[in-house]
Symmetry: C2
Subunit: 372 residues, 2 copies
């Protein structure tokens, strides 16, 4: 993402979010240490895991709060807003820890994935039994505790009980939606291009990005922040609806950009091997559009190559070519432009605080920009 | 467990808990159906999973509420108390779904475990890819969503926001403790009898049962119910401390009984194959005591047999004999008696509502009784 030039710049937001997380994790580590010294290792693993990341969801949550006049209503709650926003990083960490295990990913941001880290601990300590199974159990349990810590941190962020309670419907919906979206994503990957019509495949891919990504990453965090400012946790409430009109198309554009990077991105930028999404068999909108417009030869290539763990550089290049030649890449780029324009247009018309409007416009560009 | 003869008998408690769960799951299923018809299968799987169970944690939570005068304070909150109590079944369901996958258990209460159920769905629908991996992903995600639904249901149980907020410290501690306990249990299983001293092995086993079971199953649910009645979420508060003096030793006795059943129990009663805990290599207090008092030959048998997936009936019988001959079984039976007596004594002295006292005394006997 390009840098955002805003009064509260990205670095400050990151710092405040990191500070809130550190404070929370310090307290939790003390709780765990009292139980057993063997819990220090999981606590440290989680702390290191949470050290990275773009803090995208906290950014949208914080700016949703600002957009809805949170700072004007009570500037003293700025710390609470950063803490509530930071709690979303725990939900994201839980999802990534479980995802990496489910996908069989060995690394995350250049370091061993959590299940691999604990598998290595097993080997280093010369324990009995199956190290891979121990790594899996550790990753599942660490993801679980992190998931409960998300709502613990959110609840204790510093807003009063009534305000937290009012915002909970959006918080709860966000969690159910992202997990539902992930399940649908796994189902789609396993179904493959199978017997469905191109239209069905496309609709399924659109449902997955809406729930797994657009709502979860942008729309709901924005609304959650706004609900903390207004006390209105109804997704159809006026401010929440206005933020949805910006956040949902932007979230779709953001995920479409991510899908393009997953196929065409430079490993140095994405941190993932080139064509990784193809090997994983992700049923993205990009792939669905390619399948819809493929001729017999192209469709055969797609069917055989997608989800093939052993796909080599030539295989990746062949699939990339199909995606270009069918017009799918151009179509997705147009969609990204359209959705981003829709989002910016909605933001222009929304009745939101002016500094927030500026930052949200910048975030929209940063989240969807073409990358070299 | 033997039947409890109480004014609100076990059947009524189970019915109220089941009704609360059904109402909550109905609403969640509507949310999921709006996203995609593909989410009906997970919703149904979860509903069926929650259909069984002893409702032990809800019973202690409800009677904690009653013990602290909840009904006297506001009888109209009886529904809310059952709903809050029922939410603990979602935490338990999440833990069991994940546990079954981590342990590689194929069945739960005589039906396929969740990961196996979804593996079968994969095969029945003739999907691409690895069915076992799909089953794993489905079980992990279903456990995750169930975990978030626990706090959603608890929060929306019908108590006001202030009261829920006041009780949250115990709710949060309970969740962290059970996951910490599970992690320590997995570590202990993987460490095996290794290089630790008998005293270390015993202490580790005691820590595991305290956090994974005694606190999670009895102490914290009781205190959670009490906190909803009193508004005091401090575990050291007077009512909570009195309930801990009853709940913690009782919880230990309950788990020790469960450990005995895991080695000597009749499969018809336990629903698990005879000696299953031995095959899984569980490092229970029973096993730790056996190891501490074993001679060379007995220790060799223990080291070789524990955690051996392929242990046959003769192997199970040999280990059972070691546990009897070392005096470990007798020692554990004495511990169960002592802890139960401690619990009943504390209950006698506690300042709690009289009907609750009667029921809690019956629950103590039922949860720890020798079974034929």
């Amino acid at each position: 993402m390009t840098e955002i030039l805003s009064p509260l710049d990205r670095r400050e937001l990151r710092t405040r979010v990191s500070l809130a997380l550190t404070g929370f994790l310090d307290r939790q580590e003390r709780v765990l240490r009292r139980i057993s010294a063997d819990l220090v290792e999981p606590a440290v693993a989680l702390r290191e895991f949470l050290d990275g990341g773009k803090r995208l969801r906290p950014a949208f949550c914080y700016w949703g709060w600002r957009a809805a006049g949170g700072a004007a209503a009570d500037g003293a709650l700025d710390d609470a807003a950063f803490t509530a926003a930071a709690s979303l990083e725990l939900l994201q960490a839980s999802a990534l820890i479980h995802d990496d295990y489910m996908d069989g990913s060995d690394t995350r941001r250049g370091k061993p994935a959590v299940h691999r880290r604990f598998e290595a601990l097993h080997a280093a300590d010369g324990w009995d039994g199956d190290g891979a199974r121990f790594g899996a159990a550790a990753a599942i349990l660490l993801g679980d505790i992190t998931l409960t810590w998300c709502d613990e941190m959110f609840t204790r962020s510093g807003f009063d009980a009534q305000r937290i309670h009012a915002a909970r419907p959006i918080f709860d919906l966000m969690r159910s939606e992202v997990m539902a979206g992930q399940y649908l994503d796994v189902v789609a990957q396993n179904r493959g291009l199978g017997v469905a019509t191109p239209q069905e495949i496309l609709e399924r891919a659109e449902t997955v990005i809406r729930y797994k990504s657009a709502k979860y990453t942008i729309e709901r965090p924005l609304q959650l922040g706004a609900a903390l400012a207004t006390g209105d946790g109804d997704e159809a409430g006026p401010v929440n609806a206005a933020l949805s009109a910006y956040g949902l198309p932007l979230g779709e554009a953001f995920q479409l950009r991510d899908d393009v990077l997953g196929v065409f991105g430079d490993p140095a930028t994405t941190g993932k091997p080139a064509g990784d999404d193809l090997r994983e068999g992700k049923q993205t909108v990009l792939v669905a559009l390619a399948a819809a417009h493929a001729d017999g030869t192209q469709l055969k290539l797609l069917r055989e190559g997608l989800g093939d763990d052993a796909l080599d550089a030539a295989g990746v290049a062949a699939l990339q070519q199909v995606i270009v030649d069918t017009g799918a890449l151009d179509a997705v780029e147009r969609r990204i432009e359209e959705r981003t324009a829709l989002a910016l247009d909605a933001l222009e018309r929304a009745s939101v605080e002016s500094e927030a409007r500026t930052v949200l416009a910048e975030l929209a560009i940063a989240a969807t920009a073409r990358q070299v």
